[in-house]
Amino acid sequence: MTKCIKNVICTFCGTLCDDLEVDVSDDGKRIEQVRNACAIGAEKYLHVGNPGRVVVPRMRQADGTYKDVSYDEAIDFTAKTLLKAKKPLMYGWSSTNCEAIAEGNVLAEKIGGVVDNCATVCHGSSLLAIQDTGVPSCTLGEVKNRADRIIFWGCNPAHAHPRHMSRYSIFPRGFFSAKGQKGRKIICVDCRETDTAKVADHFVRIKQSYDYEVFDALRTLLRGEEIPDEVGGVPREKLQELIDICKGGRFVTLFFGMGLTHTLGRNHNIDAGINFIRDLNDYTKATLIAMRGHYNVTGAGQVLGWQYGYPFACDLSRLTTARHNPGETTSVDLLVRHEVDACMVIASDLAAHFPFEATRRMAHIPTITLDPHICMSTELSDLHIPVAIVGVEVGGCCYRMDNVPIDTRKVIDAPEGVLTDEEVFQRINKRVDELLAEAGCKDAAEYLEYLEKQEA
């Protein structure tokens, strides 16, 4: 006999689908089947039973091999490493819950670390544009109920957010959109004909890295001014057609992704996109939503925002003030410039996504990785602390790409003895307090002086 758990929240991508049905074995230890999920989401649940799961922390030996250690040892090592470092980087946070993030951020304040999340190599440029020019947005349900014009720009939900189109953007029938797809005009702007482009009514192929120019041209046309015959590889007539489609709509939504945030221009592309949407509001209703990737990268920014005031790249190493200066306090820059002397990777794979130079630096400094899986970062770490998988083995709050928080569910037990991210951070916090008290230090700065005296 199996029991079916309904309304399960899929902790894979920023779409955060909340309608999964998961069949679980009687003893609550095995997942038998997953319904309603996309292929990636289903695998997120089904892979948990695969052999080879790491269930105890692993410490790197002098000969380069890993040795199993207890959680106590792992936590002691982590606390000491963080305290010993002058400026440790605590990067990741995007695949864990907000409870763990809150606890981890407080640890960063205590030991004087830099907190940064995946936005730093993802939608960080969008956040910079939002800081520059604002963001007219809405929830995904608004898109479903009202939108009759959808623009996908530099994103490919068919592959990256597989159920986005059916749940929110192209196909669903909503209150004022009873005709579903038939009532919507779908525009896809990209430099490649992606699978999303194939389902669009209008595919506009632009030259790579000409996004800013094309937005600029659209804004110019919107104001009734002249543009050249061709901009970014798109004829003027086609751009005028796009403007006519948008102005003719009742509710326009622009979804954008890495194709805008990480091509030439970066935050300025987003800036232009935001202002295009803002301008459109003079004629009709228009909004935009960033296609956030990891299921809780948004939440990582939210928690950091309410605790220390910034969405990412927050330097707490001074212990008395929080600094945010993207380009300086961002992870890649800190690593490449050798400004951090220890690294903690939490619930995201730094080594798999950072530039080679940054990853090489991470491999050379003491590094601790908190992750349920073996990944590139764990293989370059001095310590790998395995944890329970959020949304599968432990619940907790996560934020969807439109900033809507959803409480994820636990469907099965974690392997015996495996701690959650939150528990690990609670224990590190406690251990740091003990170490400070033992040394008679009031904060991490005094502890560094204490260590120097000990060495002398």
Binding site: K6, N7, I9, D18, D19, C98, E99, A102, E109, I130, Q131, D132, G134, V135, P136, S137, C138, T139, L140, G141, E142, K144, N145, R146, R173, G174, F175, F176, R250, F251, R278, N281, T284, K285, T287, G301, Q302, V303, G305, W306, Q307, Y308, G309, Y310, P311, L316, T320, T321, A322, R323, H324, C397, Y399, N403, V404, P405, I406, D407, K442, D443
Partner: protein, 572 residues
């Protein structure tokens, strides 16, 4: 448990009827008591002012739009001289931000001023989890949050059809789901119209498609509120905020309360709270002939005894406006060309955020400043008049002491008025210069303690120093026999000599002593209604068809509200 006696202070407290008489305040087990034993810790308050912990009836300190403000305004942390990113004590967290402070700074700054309770004034139900996460992480003050109902599709339908039972059952359901406290109504109908880029500018403008008017919405919400016997009255931000000539809309909105009578067991005798009245008391037709109508609006408020108001005082700072009034923020950004953020929320509401600089050399801002003060000074019943800055809309809450000092010291406010670039124009278009009134310490204790506690239905535990009430006590370095003036008064009110929350000393000489000195509680209201199959059916249908999350994932689970204080109301 420890006993404390605060000795020989000048006590101002309308609940126990003290108007500055020298008296002792005794604390035991987190409550005010008649007397304590000889072993009690003695706090010498001789030559000082003692009041109950203050209550903020309307502030935006937690939730999606507040955090959006923090996200997109790094510059709010870069201001000099305002402790915008600093660790103020060895045992407290780093505090950041000015107009949209972080949760840590929010709790600490309110504590320094002696606040014990905060009402988060607008919670989009879909985002309730976010609001509660921030409330949970805000230290010290007890808090509650008001879900917004003024643009809710369920309510449109029930109120239009006159289905009061269904409306009540739905409101009760939302309060339970979101752990909410009462009924907030922002720009009724207008924020739904904003879904199409439109607005409702008067109480008679029908909402597109739904064909209900703001007047019907307000009227229906008041009826629903009294049917459910909720502790707080309907909390209204009426249509047409911030526009010249809007005072007629305001009066039309206030008059809707005339036919209603309070019905509750919490000592509340009013049915409508109109918030940030300053933004709604404008005359003229354009910004050129813009003038104050504070007197006209307050004349009505003074004679209509079943309504309460808060002021929304402009503090003349650079701040961050944020409201569920989505169309207003769009128009504001068109006026000041600063960055516009907007979030429309499916089936429920909208919201916008725009930075705003209330300049001392901008005529309109100077007049808004004067109008806010006029409203407080024209008030006859201080138990129906509360001071707010609609934080952070008219200014950050950290400026309360300055607002109090302007109200309590004519010389101080006249110095400000006469220093304006457009002072003669402001003097012509307002009546502030002619007003000699100075608010007394006793009146201040009413406006910031007893009155907000009463209108929130919390009058038996907050806002007073009678035995049995929560031991929230603020002691200020103010000797009423030798009243400080101007900036000295302001500074004394900004830094409490002592602040006790639930009998725990949290602040001494303006310094917060611990990161999390007390267990704070989140208040929410559980109003019992008969099972209503129609509403349950409507809810499941709308979630199935129109919401982007499933009904079973809507409820705010217990772990978001780790220390709930549930006010249960028996079936109507």
């Amino acid at each position: 448990m420890t006993e404390i006696i605060i000795k020989n202070g000048h006590v101002f407290d309308s609940v126990s009827g003290l108007k500055g008489e020298v008296a002792d305040v005794c604390i035991k087990d987190g409550k005010i008591v008649e007397s304590v034993g000889n072993g009690a810790t003695v706090i010498d308050a001789a030559g000082k002012t003692v009041m109950a912990g203050a209550v903020d009836v309307h502030t935006h300190v937690a939730g999606p739009k507040v955090n959006l403000g923090r996200w997109y305004r790094p510059e709010d942390k870069f201001r000099l001289g305002e402790r915008c990113s600093a660790k103020m004590g060895p045992n407290t967290h780093i505090e950041g931000g000015f107009s949209i402070p972080t949760v840590f700074k929010t709790g600490y700054e309110y504590a320094r001023m002696g606040f014990a309770f905060l009402m988060e004034a607008a919670m989009p139900p879909l985002y309730a989890r976010h609001v509660h996460e921030e409330i949970r992480d805000t230290p010290i003050q007890d808090e509650a949050a008001l879900p917004v109902f003024g643009n809710n599709w369920f309510m449109f339908e029930y109120l239009k059809n006159g289905e009061l039972d269904n409306a009540a059952a739905y409101v009760a359901w939302v309060l339970r789901q979101t752990k909410g406290y009462g009924i907030k109504c922002v720009n009724p109908g207008g924020s739904e119209a904003w879904g199409w880029g439109l607005n409702c500018m008067t109480v008679n403008d029908p909402v597109p498609y739904f064909e209900i008017t703001p007047k019907e919405i307000i009227d229906g919400l008041i009826a629903t509120n009294e049917h459910l016997k909720l502790p707080h009255s309907v909390h209204l931000h009426s249509n047409n905020l911030g526009n010249p000539g809007n005072y007629t809309t305001t009066l039309d909105s206030l008059k809707i309360a005339e036919g209603h009578k309070a019905n509750n067991a919490f000592g509340r005798d009013t049915v409508l709270h109109h918030t940030h009245l300053q933004f709604h008391s404008y005359g003229g037709t354009t910004w050129a002939d813009f003038e104050s109508k504070a007197k006209e609006v307050m004349d009505y408020v003074n004679k209509q005894e079943n309504i309460t108001i808060d002021t929304g005082n402009v503090t003349l700072d650079e701040t961050t406006t944020m409201t569920a009034d989505g169309p207003f923020e769009y128009h504001l950004s068109a006026l000041n060309h600063l960055k516009w953020a907007n979030v429309d929320v499916e089936l429920e509401t909208a919201a916008g955020v725009v930075p705003y600089i209330y300049g001392k050399n901008v005529k309109v801002c100077e007049m808004q400043w004067a109008i806010g003060l006029e409203i407080a000074l024209y008030a006859k019943d201080m138990m129906r008049t509360m001071i707010t800055t609609d934080h952070p809309n008219a200014g950050p809450f950290t400026r309360y002491p300055r607002v109090y000092a302007w109200l309590m010291d004519k010389e101080y406010r006249d110095a400000e008025l006469n220093g304006f670039k457009w002072s003669s124009k402001v003097i012509d278009a307002t009546t502030l210069a002619e007003i000699d009134r100075e608010i007394s310490l006793y009146e201040l204790s009413q406006m910031t303690r007893a009155a907000p506690a009463k209108v929130l239905g919390l009058g038996s535990t907050f806002g007073g120093l009678a035995p049995g009430m929560n031991a929230n006590v603020a002691v200020y370095d103010i000797n009423p026999d030798n009243m400080p003036k101007g900036i000295e008064l302001e500074n004394a009110l900004a830094k409490a000599a002592y602040f006790f929350k639930d009998g725990v000393k949290c602040v001494e000489n303006g310094v917060v002593l611990e990161a999390n000195p007390v267990v704070k509680e989140t208040y929410w209201v559980d109003a019992k209604v008969p099972e209503n199959k129609q509403v349950l059916h409507d809810v499941s249908e709308k979630f199935l068809k129109y919401y982007s999350i499933n009904l079973e994932n809507y409820d705010v689970a217990h772990h978001y509200v780790p220390h709930p204080h549930v006010i249960e109301i028996e079936e109507a």
